[in-house]
């Protein structure tokens, strides 16, 4: 398939999923209401019906946040799989998500008593610090000075560090007061229900910058596929490339996690399917995965709201239910990755 055709199809589906995601929910909103709400919003008209308000203030930011976060998680997967040369790696496995969750939970519970303010960016920064600590811990503990990082070591270290940081989150929700504790628990499983225009703005900004940086490094990431020494012979400084990739991944994933909680497996599934469709060129993978991840999380969010309607499931449960079979399939089929 031509790359441009692929992008076009994915973008179209992502757009439709976004509209679908804005339509479905406890209150049904018609397409006409959507369009009048949008018009009023653009022309700054103050009179809005309740449905129009729900659409503009709740549904639309949620749909957009779903697309952006889904895309970002998938791009994080591309970067980590490219770095570790293994298709079963994703940001959740290397500790980024659990670390970010811990950082954010720490801010939720103790934020008031720590004298650290960066306005609306305080929460994403707290999450990024947590994500960075966990990710670099996994990376350096799993690294061997003499040979390529073994995937078994990486996964085992990942399990240990994830356990550590999740228990940290557990501890914080245990000592937190009740409403906080409940929101930490819910958000531990991932949810888009907290979406608002502020989170959309911050996530879009961070996600866009990280993806641009990722694309700038796409060529270098490709050379890693030949192995580290070959990448070196093609003029790449492998060590700094790896640190750059990890850092981009940490910021991208942590900021999303700060607003939506831990959403697992999107970063695993999406690059895998895209590789089957269009090969492994990192540039194509990054752009394509962003759109396909958006589609996947958009659909998952619709499911999360429909399965137990009018109640809603944490979206992380939905993605995990889809992701685990794919993960096991990859493990069983590609034994040679170990």
């Amino acid at each position: 398939m031509k790359t441009k055709t692929l992008y076009l199809i994915l973008a179209l589906i992502a757009f439709l999923v976004g509209i679908g995601s804005a339509l479905f929910g406890a209150v049904s909103i018609s397409l006409e209401e959507m369009s009048t709400a949008l018009q009023k919003w653009i022309f700054q008209s103050s009179e809005r019906s309740l449905n129009e308000q729900i659409f503009i203030d709740i549904r639309l930011p949620r749909a957009i946040l779903g697309l952006i976060v889904g895309g970002s998680l998938a791009v994080g997967g591309v970067l980590m799989q490219g770095l570790f040369l293994n298709p079963i790696v994703e940001p959740g496995l290397v500790g980024t998500s659990s670390g970010a969750a811990f950082g954010a939970a720490l801010y939720f519970t103790l934020g008031a008593s720590i004298d650290f303010h960066a306005g609306e960016f305080t929460l994403p920064i707290a999450a990024s610090i947590g994500g960075a600590i966990a990710t670099f811990l996994v990376y350096f503990l799993a690294e061997s000075p003499t040979r390529k990082t073994s995937i078994v070591t990486l996964l085992l270290v990942g399990i240990a560090i994830n356990a550590l940081f999740f228990s940290g989150v557990g501890f914080l929700s245990y000592i937190a007061r009740d409403p906080q504790a409940r929101s930490i628990t819910f958000w531990n499983l991932g949810t888009l229900s907290g979406a608002n225009w502020l989170s959309v703005a911050i996530c879009s900004l961070v996600s866009l910058s990280c993806i641009v940086l990722g694309l700038k490094n796409a060529k270098q990431l490709n050379t890693l596929m030949l192995g580290e020494s070959e990448a070196g012979n093609l003029g790449i400084k492998v060590k700094t490339l790896k640190i750059r990739m990890l850092t981009i991944n940490v910021i991208l994933i942590s900021v999303c996690t700060a607003f939506t909680g831990v959403i697992a497996f999107v970063g695993l599934i999406v690059p895998h399917f895209l590789r089957i469709i269009s090969g492994s060129d990192s540039r194509r993978l990054i752009i394509g995965s962003f759109m396909m991840g958006a589609i996947l999380l958009g659909l998952a969010d619709i499911l999360a709201r429909l399965l137990l309607a009018p109640a809603e499931l944490p979206i992380g449960i939905v993605t995990t239910m889809v992701g685990v079979p794919v993960f096991i399939y990859l493990l069983r089929r590609h034994n040679n990755y170990f």
Partner: protein
């Protein structure tokens, strides 16, 4: 030209290379020969800047290798190794185009694509350009890497010599492609000044294609010079502990062992 001045390298207190001083001229093929553990691969790694020498220095076209950035080096120097293991699917043409990466910033220029195409033609992989690299046979894969490396140091009309390091790249090839590859390298040298330094296991092949021969033994240079002078049965005896003799066939010397 490449020059090593008294380079030594050791790992865990074991001296792998001891005071190596060598010169490699443009438009010459230099073959480094020696038994396992003689330090051949270590020398190639040092020359390709993958590891740093403990002592001594390496001069690369007049500049000290340490002072050349990896990125600049990749524009004039390529390394062809054996057994490159890829796990992700990639089209053959995409793998070959990686050889042009040092030459363009984000998107391949027309010139780069043309060179990629020429390189694929040269090593007869252009009919598999769209195929998935992972589905190729071992020999085909290696030819794809030949094309990639050739694309990296493709003749560009510049005076500065290109450098090609060969780290036993012919191991998985059939006999025809082994000769074919060396012939093509010689042809490339006609168009562009090139310094070729290689490690090959096949002594007859090394003898046939080399200009300069270096025998390494236990991390030291045993002998070096023009192949006619150095490649003798007595040095083979001393370096490889091999009783060999030469026979003359149609004016060409062949080794028998």
């Amino acid at each position: 030209m490449i020059k090593t001045e008294n380079i030594s390298y050791s790992i865990n207190n074991k001296l792998l290379l001891d005071q190596i001083s060598l010169e490699f001229q443009p438009n010459e093929i230099s073959m480094i020969l020696g038994p396992n553990g003689a330090g051949k691969s270590t020398l190639i790694k040092l020359l390709s800047n993958q590891i740093k020498a403990d002592e001594g220095k390496i001069m690369n076209n007049g500049n000290e290798l340490q002072n050349i950035s990896q990125k600049e080096l990749a524009k004039t120097q390529a390394v062809l190794s054996q057994n490159i293991h890829m796990v992700f699917p990639m089209k053959v043409e995409e793998v070959v185009m990686m050889g042009r990466y040092p030459h363009f910033s984000s998107k391949a220029e027309k010139n780069d694509r043309e060179i990629g195409h020429e390189a694929m033609k040269l090593f007869q992989v252009e009919e598999m350009a769209k195929r998935n690299y992972l589905t190729l046979s071992g020999g085909e894969k290696q030819r794809v890497h030949f094309a990639r490396v050739a694309a990296q140091i493709w003749p560009d009309g510049m005076q500065q010599p290109k450098i090609l390091l060969l780290d036993e790249p012919l191991t998985y090839l059939d006999i025809f492609h082994q000769f074919d590859f060396m012939d093509k390298l010689k042809a490339m040298m006609q168009e562009q000044p090139m310094t070729i330094i290689g490690v090959l296991h096949d002594l007859n092949l090394a003898y046939k294609y080399s200009d300069q021969v270096i025998f390494l033994k236990s991390g030291k240079v045993f002998s070096q010079g023009k192949k006619e002078d150095v490649f003798t049965t007595s040095s083979l005896k001393e370096v490889f502990n091999l009783n060999a003799k030469f026979i003359l066939n149609e004016g060409v010397r062949h080794l028998l062992f």
